[in-house]
Symmetry: C2
Subunit: 142 residues, 2 copies
């Protein structure tokens, strides 16, 4: 298996509501979707929002154990603590819930979290030890 994630899918209660949130955040919805699924090109990968019940059925997950957010978090690294605060504010203005305001963290960076309308947590972080490349993507130190 090659080391690649090509797409991240969020299970959501309402595809239209979730898509509208991500469009307010500045993500561009692709024409490839429909009323059951929306796709957003995020640089080299794709984010999709898909009905949670459809996702449970598609993945053959146990139907009696509804997923609860927080098992997976997504991170958006930026190049300064100020950018962390700015993105958190933008997310809240777009309808996110602030889980944790930006603060200096024990590992030497600065980070905060918001939850999207379905509770999926996003970390917004500045990590001075993990450089971002020209496209803003994360490269681990060698």
């Amino acid at each position: 298996m090659d080391p690649r994630i090509t797409l991240v899918t969020l299970g959501v209660a309402d595809v239209a509501r979730a898509s509208a949130f991500y469009e307010r955040l500045g993500f561009q919805r692709s024409a490839a979707g429909n009323e059951h699924v929306a796709f957003f090109q995020l640089g080299p990968m794709v984010l999709s929002v898909f009905g949670q019940h459809d996702l449970i059925e598609d993945a053959c997950l146990p139907a009696d154990q509804a997923p609860r957010p927080g098992g997976i978090t997504l991170a958006h690294n930026v190049d300064s603590p100020e950018a962390v605060d700015r993105v958190l504010a933008e997310a809240v203005a777009a309808g996110a819930t602030l889980l944790k305001p930006g603060r200096t963290v024990f590992w030497g960076g600065y980070s905060g979290y918001f939850a999207d309308p379905d509770g999926h947590p996003w970390e917004v972080a500045h990590n001075p030890f993990f450089p971002l490349d020209a496209a803003g993507q994360l490269r681990l130190p060698d």
Copy 2:
């Protein structure tokens, strides 16, 4: 907020167990981690595995509602149905649970799912309508 995911973090019961699984899958663990967190460079982004309790605390998630997998799924797109079956078999050999064998799906592709040792679902998919670029990353049609 720029359209970017820089890092995906999986909450796990045991960082050593989860890391060993992803190493068996062929992902290379970065020297940047420690016993509490492991990082894997996946092309332009990073996968990390982090203790679920640490993640709940870090993200300030409600402590009384333990996360349950399935709210977010990760996908690994490949270039043929045969490659789907091959990757699913590799994942099972590495210790994954098969959630859904590869099969033709209603949208015209071929896909299956496995769960990692913490239950996080990965879809392995061939989507003839979503081309992969030279690096194997997904590009939505214009």
